[in-house]
Subunit: 209 residues, 2 copies
Amino acid sequence: MPRPSPTGEAPRRGRPGYDQETVLRCAIDLFNRRGYDGTSVGDLARELGLTKSAIYHHFPSKSYLLQAALSEALDALAKVIDTAVASEDGARESAYQRLESAVRQSVEVLVEHLPAVTLLLRVHGNSEVELDALRRRREMDAKLADLVRAAAEEGSLRSDIPPDLTSRLLFGMVNSLVEWYRPNGRYDTAAIADAVTRLAFEGLALRGR
Amino acid sequence: MPRPSPTGEAPRRGRPGYDQETVLRCAIDLFNRRGYDGTSVGDLARELGLTKSAIYHHFPSKSYLLQAALSEALDALAKVIDTAVASEDGARESAYQRLESAVRQSVEVLVEHLPAVTLLLRVHGNSEVELDALRRRREMDAKLADLVRAAAEEGSLRSDIPPDLTSRLLFGMVNSLVEWYRPNGRYDTAAIADAVTRLAFEGLALRGR
């Protein structure tokens, strides 16, 4: 759906009444609905009621739009993970606490950047931009697996599940949000973050407690 | 990749050397790689080294192939869930035990029918066949949420997470397998099923145990 410029100002000469951000939001939405390959710059221009050259005023190419979208998701997730890993030096928090924070803050990033993260999680490496995104995801997965390993080694996390498997299942659960979470739904971000951390760290069973 | 008929028999007149099953496997593979919309019956014929009419010998339409693929996944998952729910009458097993079995057996179905389940989980309701699959998925989700509720009510499952949220997170974790599980990888089905049930029911934390 076309959205007016957030500033509400009349379009200036040579600049359409849409800013870069609005074009990017609309592109992410179309990419998620129709797929990146199934969306042309012409489709995007039509959706916004603009000419193709007005789109190119903001973004040099469709691939640049994809890169901007994926970077939004990757940068937000990388910040969470790098913070969790970096604290290792200060050692003010245990690996367990830092892992729990990483899980909680990942939920927050997913909710806040839901369309961009949805796009990221559907990327299959069909172009250099997508391959680069997959590389960054793998780097983050490796850091998370290291953090799980550190928590197991400090004795606060169960060690009878291989750390890479724990990490995949844990963040598989977090990432499943893009399939079912809807903004303005029944549960807010805090309720979902609580549910995820309780389920993952404390478990669902009450028997024997 | 073209595969010869499993029977090894010479192709009969009017029947190519491929059975229905081989055509379906190849279709599911192509749908997953290129998307359903991005795959034509011509593509499938080319992939198998057949004519389009040979494909139509086995399946009346592309949509029929999609339906067969989605039914494979849905039928296998429905069997697991209906077994878990049906036992309620006999009451030989607690709701907790039946939920744990449903989780474990869902992992087994995902591994055994990985390509078909992958296709199912990517369906977005673009056709009547897809909408029907989404309806069946919603029915199964509702049954699983009821089972979670029953386990909480019998006092064996924590009740401070809303049952629908527990159910989504639990099966979101199971379903994440389609994103990272690779056949012949490091872990077999039993190892993954163990990891999922331990993480979900017992939790990752060792503190205070």
